[in-house]
């Protein structure tokens, strides 16, 4: 168990500076367009402000997923379910609450209603996760992975099949739900895209700060103890099942928040982004960034999303007749290679390797110096 030593706080400081600088710089370019520059131009049209907002939204989700997978050591193969619950909750309740629940139009139209819906979605996801996690996490091994896998597919089918209803139009089946309003605070609308960019990244940074605080709190230490050895943790009086269920619920809450933000950004939702493959993509992102690293979250998301944009726009030129989905080969290979060679993720893995290489070089230098002195 590592205490929050000086090294770690230095790392966090560097992390904050790098993240703030990147987000600030890209945002500044994207919003003010100095000298006619655009983010899209700098990256040959592959990365736009739109991509950067998606990275911010998924960062919120990934921080939760990393807390669950890296710190509590529980794999979730269905986190897109909670992401979807948030998105559909926002979509349905901001566009159809009047018809479905009979809530008066003045309430649904008011500026605070979407915010309330976001909170409702988070509470719903969190309770669902806790209810399912509590009994299942009592079992050993990878049972949560199996249950979340089932949950993820179940929710995808529910979204796709209109929750099983025949007549009523609820989730809109394959077509989804259009016309989701933008978020507002009183009279101030968080739109155009530049405002939403700032809003999303402010929230993402808040969530990162929350994650960093959590892992150095009592809960975080308990989780790390569980990850190290469940038996030892239990012997030290840690209530293993409760802590695991709690972190599962927290990660579901963050996923739901991200889903709501996605719905208000996209202004429409459809079932595809919440499928099983999407859940796998989240696991890949988490693995790339480093399972047990909060700072790995934005890195992992950015890495995969940017690679995907590049593959989508360039693969067609390399492979004749390749459709967009070929990037999944790459996901698979990345996942395998990282898990074999750098199970701690690219960020942590490269840092560690660099550090050990540096210290070895220093040792080598010391060794040659001393042997040279002794030999002659």
């Amino acid at each position: 168990m590592k205490a929050p030593d000086q090294n770690e706080s230095k790392q966090n400081l560097i992390g904050w500076i790098v993240l703030a600088a990147l987000v600030g710089l890209l945002g500044w370019i994207g919003i003010t367009r100095p000298f006619g520059l655009e983010v899209a131009d700098l990256t040959a049209g592959m990365v736009t402000l739109d991509t950067l907002i998606r990275i911010g939204i998924l960062t919120i989700l990934l921080v939760g997923l990393n807390l669950l997978m890296g710190y509590a050591g529980q794999v979730s193969l269905g986190h897109a379910a909670f992401y979807g619950v948030g998105a559909y909750m926002s979509a349905i309740l901001t566009t159809r609450a009047g018809n479905l629940l009979g809530i008066s139009g003045s309430v649904v139209g008011s500026w605070w209603w979407p915010w309330l819906v976001i909170v409702v979605g988070m509470v719903f996801s969190g309770s669902l996760a806790y209810l399912i996690g509590r009994p299942i996490l009592r079992l050993k091994g990878h049972y949560l992975a199996m249950a979340t896998l089932g949950l993820g597919i179940m929710f995808f089918i529910l979204f796709r099949e209109n929750l099983g209803f025949q007549g009523q139009h609820i989730t809109g089946a394959f077509d989804g739900i259009p016309g989701i309003p933008r978020l507002r605070i009183a009279g101030f609308e968080i739109w155009p895209i530049s405002r939403y960019y700032i809003f999303v990244w402010l929230l993402a940074m808040l969530v990162i700060a929350f994650g960093l605080n959590l892992i150095n709190s009592r809960t975080g230490r308990a989780l790390r103890a569980i990850h190290g050895s469940e038996v030892a943790a239990r012997a030290m009086g840690v209530d293993v099942a409760t802590y695991k269920a709690r972190i599962f619920a927290i990660s579901a809450i963050l996923a739901s928040l991200a889903g709501s933000l996605y719905a208000h950004f996209q202004a429409s939702v459809s079932p595809i982004p919440f499928s099983f493959v999407a859940s796998l993509e989240l696991v890949v992102m988490s693995a790339v960034g480093g399972l047990s690293s909060i700072w790995g979250a934005p890195f992992g998301v950015a890495f995969i999303l940017i690679i995907r944009e590049i593959l989508r726009s360039r693969l067609r030129q390399v492979l004749q007749g390749a459709s967009g989905e070929h990037e999944i080969i790459f996901y698979g290979l990345v996942l395998i290679l990282i898990m074999i060679f750098m199970p701690e993720g690219i960020t942590v893995g490269v840092l560690n390797r660099w550090r050990s290489w540096r210290s070895r070089e220093r040792e080598d230098a010391a060794l040659t110096a001393s042997s040279g002195a002794g030999g002659d």
Partner: protein, 343 residues
């Protein structure tokens, strides 16, 4: 021992009774749709056909889990490879008569899939064998994704057609007994399931290699002490799981229109079936598969066809919540031993 066994039987009975409670709304919904006994029997029969496929795939999951403690999500890829390779070979020109051509294609597909399974074990599982089980599971997920992508690259996104085994044509021979309609292909599916089950039972009970594999699953360290190479057994388990998965993919192809992504849903259903069976017993996997196929088809029959998959995963979560050791109650040891390896 005796007491726990009767206790176990009681719990199994209770779980099955709870599942049967769901029969009430099913019958009610069926009556509303004017279903008679015949319609229900037809739904059940079709369900058992799908269930046999799930059972075949579930056996692959069980084999790998028993020996290595890994849930091998790449199992679906073996199913896809079996089906797609057979289609590819069968479409090639050959001087053989059609029936022999089909058999040769199927045999070749099983052999190649087995080799791919062995290769996957060597390239991805073996280098990471010292990692935690969780890491290994994520690796198999990666293998599945990569294989599906590879399938897309090789075969494209279209669905292929495959002739029924009996008639070697698109339209299968159909038996009509007592008003029930049974395709001849169903018998091929049931037959291959029984054949694989019998062969595996013989292998595990009667041959030295099979006994060594069983020893590995009972106690890996103990097996090593008596000179059984766990790494060789892991290789064997992946090869055999790939072969069984490929057989499942081949026999299902005539009723499914095989495509590059057929492995996903079939693999996941096979996984649910394996969990139902407790994840450690081959007969349990078969029982789980048949039960899963039966329940989901009847439930979908009285509600909505698109909802079919949802019943399978509701069943998965119910099992994990209330009966994690599986229908037969044999999975308890596996739950414990897998946790040991994790620590």
């Amino acid at each position: 021992m005796n007491r726990t066994r009767s206790d176990n039987l009681l719990r199994t009975a209770r779980f099955v009774a709870v599942l049967l409670l769901f029969a009430i709304p099913v019958v009610y919904l069926g009556i509303q749709r004017n279903y008679g006994v015949l319609q229900f029997a037809q739904l059940a029969l079709d369900g058992l056909r799908g269930g046999a496929i799930y059972a075949l795939i579930a056996m692959g999951f069980v084999m790998v889990f028993n020996v290595t403690g890994i849930i091998n999500f790449a199992q679906g890829a073996f199913v896809m490879l079996g089906g797609m390779l057979t289609v590819t070979f069968y479409q090639m020109e050959s001087s053989l008569p059609d029936r022999l051509h089909l058999i040769a294609s199927a045999v070749l597909a099983v052999i190649i899939t087995t080799l791919i399974g062995i290769l996957i074990e060597r390239l991805t599982i073996y280098p990471a064998r010292k990692s935690s089980t969780l890491t290994l599971i994520i690796i198999t997920v990666g293998v599945y994704i990569a294989m599906q992508g590879l399938g897309l690259l090789v075969w494209g996104a279209k669905a292929y057609v495959f002739p029924a085994f009996t008639t070697l044509a698109m339209t299968d021979h159909v038996f009509r007994w007592f008003g029930l309609v049974i395709k001849a292909q169903s018998f091929w599916i049931w037959g291959s399931m029984i054949l694989v089950l019998v062969l595996l039972a013989y292998f595990f009970e009667r041959t030295l290699l099979g006994k060594a594999m069983r020893a590995c699953s009972v106690n890996r360290h103990g097996a090593r002490l008596v000179g059984i190479g766990a790494e060789r057994m892991s290789l064997l388990a992946f090869g055999m799981a790939a072969a069984v998965g490929a057989i499942g993919g081949i026999v299902v192809s005539p009723i499914l229109r095989p495509s590059y992504d057929m492995g996903l849903s079939l693999g996941l259903k096979g996984f649910v079936a394996a969990i139902l069976g407790g994840l450690v017993s081959t007969p349990g996997a078969v029982l789980g598969g048949l039960l899963l196929g039966f329940l989901e088809n009847v439930a979908a029959g009285v509600t909505k066809a698109g909802m079919k998959d949802i019943y399978a995963f509701i069943l998965l979560i119910l099992t994990l919540l209330f009966r994690p050791q599986g229908l037969l109650g044999v999975g308890k040891t596996a739950v414990e031993s897998s946790s040991e390896d994790q620590g």
